[in-house]
């Protein structure tokens, strides 16, 4: 782990008040991202990953109740919101809808520099062109004149990544950046992120429901379930010896291209508890084959270890 973290999240809690009680999207999440480090967040849909990202960026609707602390080292007072788009940037899940349809790529990219860096239009366009070339767009000057619908999904995601990097952010929050893309394009985008992280020395918070996506890039992986962190470990250690049964189940469910083709894909029966659901014990207890009476009664405390691993389980898998 790096010495000085760019991002520290402490006991973050996100609730959306609504009819029939508040929906708890994120519950007591703590994590940190070091300078230049790539941290992966993994979890099923509905585990609160996107809500966590939006909370970090200050992009949640004003009705959301947010508790806990988010400190971003690059911002005065630690508020990411103030340096959004400049020191902390975000790439979204669906490149099909994340670009404004009626504006040319050039206009959408250069406005970032015009706003944050007070660049002239011409200088901003030139910087945008150079950044498009860096992310591997074949005809960057031509791309600037295009509308989003004239580009393929992979190209659009590259444009979005290029756009987020224009101001040289210290942290890139990438929320499922490859989910909407073809598998081959997925690999290209992940490679691009890895290269940019090295070149720009930028930290990445890489969020995915897909362990394989995170595995190649992240040094540390945080596993989320039902809005909570259930386990965190260095990537290598997590794959080779998961301690939380949920992590183990996730790994078991990931299709393995190297091994024999199973007659039936491994699945995890049941569903995660809804965000509006209340429960007393461990959120995973209902689906866990190791669960006991105690799991259903008492929430397991988070236990941290010296090797950077932590997990919340009453009856962890043996190390």
């Amino acid at each position: 782990m790096s010495a000085e973290p760019v991002l520290v999240v402490e006991d973050l809690r996100v609730e959306h008040p609504g009819r029939g009680g508040a929906v708890e999207a994120v519950r007591d999440v703590s994590l940190s991202v070091g300078a230049g480090e790539c941290v992966g967040i993994v979890g099923e849909s509905g585990s609160g990953k996107t809500q966590l990202c939006l909370a970090l960026m200050g992009l949640l609707p004003p009705s959301a109740r947010i508790d806990g602390a988010v400190r971003f080292a690059g911002a005065p007072g630690g508020a990411a919101r103030a340096v959004r788009g400049e020191r902390i940037a975000m790439v979204f899940q669906d490149p099909q809808t994340a670009l404004t349809p009626h504006l040319r790529i050039g206009s959408q990219m250069s406005e970032v520099l015009v706003h944050h860096r007070r660049s002239s239009g011409a200088r901003a366009r030139e910087a945008a062109r150079a950044m498009l070339a860096r992310v591997g767009i074949p005809d960057p000057a031509g791309c600037l004149r295009r509308y989003p619908h004239e580009l393929s999904g992979g190209m659009r995601q590259r444009v979005l990544i290029a756009m987020s990097l224009l101001c040289g952010p210290q942290l890139l929050v990438a929320d499922e950046p490859t989910t909407a893309l073809d598998v081959t394009v997925q690999a290209q985008v992940l490679e691009l992120l890895a290269r940019l992280r090295r070149e720009q020395r930028m930290a990445i918070l890489l969020v995915s429901h897909d362990l394989a996506v995170v595995a190649g890039l992240a040094a540390r992986i945080v596993v989320m379930y039902a809005g909570r962190v259930v386990e965190e470990a260095p990537a290598e250690a997590l794959f080779h010896g998961p301690r939380h049964p949920y992590t183990a189940a996730l790994i078991a469910c990931a299709p393995n291209a190297d091994g024999p083709i199973p007659a039936r894909m491994a699945t995890l029966p049941g569903q995660p508890p809804g965000a509006a659901e209340r429960f007393t014990g461990c959120p995973f207890a209902a689906r866990c084959d190791r669960s006991s009476e105690r799991c259903r009664r008492e929430p397991p405390p988070m236990t941290a270890f010296d090797d950077g691993r932590r997990f919340a389980c009453h009856d962890p898998l043996p190390a």
Binding site: L59, R84, G85, A98, T100, E111, H116
Partner: protein, 323 residues
Amino acid sequence: MSTVRPVVTLGRRMPLIRYLLFRVLGAIPTLLAIVTISFFLIRFAPAGPFDRARALPADVVANLDAAYGLDRPLWQQYTSYLRDLAHGDFGPSFRYKDFSVTELIREGFPVSATLGAIAIAIALVGGVGVGVVAALNHGRFVDHATIGLSVVAIAVPSFVLLPALGLLFGIELHWLPVAGWDPTSIRDYVLPVTTLCLPPLAYIARLTRASMIEVMRSAYVRTAFAKGLPLRTIVLKHALRPALIPVASYLAPAVAMTMTGSLVVETIAGLPGIGRYLVQGALNRDYTLVLGMVIVYSTLLIAMGLVVDLLIAALDPRIRLEA
């Protein structure tokens, strides 16, 4: 050095000129169908232009019918009407003696069109402004107030609103004339224009509010927020244009309706427009006047339909104009 850039992004297959030609030529059969249907509809309505409570002497009726060509077979009247129409002649009015329909419309249309155009322009600017402010304050007091007031503005009929305004600003406060028309006096415009513009303004405000709320929740607006852009830029540059598409669609019928005048407003305010001709013409069986008004209204509607399609293509580059 100059580069020519098309105003509208079109499909590569169809240049703008060709598209316009298609649409204009395509309007001719539409208009012909409208004229034909209207011609026979009004003719098949019972009674005629010279029927009165007390019947005219038979020889008088025969003379009148001969003078206006009503004694000929219907299909002959139809073809001769079309022939005159092709020469730009709408025929003589059956009711306004010594006036041709062309004269009536040429005199009245500028009055109605001017008032209508001003009213629609105010409705558009005001409605979009109010709608955007309401959408940005979604769920708050400003929003609820806008919704409430817009219902009132749409629901109150002009025959209540205009006299009420006249009573307040004309008779009580003496600020504005209650009725009368002097094209050079702005004061004469205020009350009729206000009455004409309120319902479309309220309707445009509601349309804008609804689509703006939706657009502000869209993924690309979230991207714009993530880029750290100020709210003003996000609203004006990223959100407003797509939010205006429903408003643009509404403009075609609204402009055609408002620019052809309002029977109620023009009658109450004593304006020499064409608003009364359609209803009066139909009631009086003033065959040529009704047809003339139908032609003016449908031409305006068809032309605005084309303008709106171009406008929408300009608002959204993904839309291709294809005939």
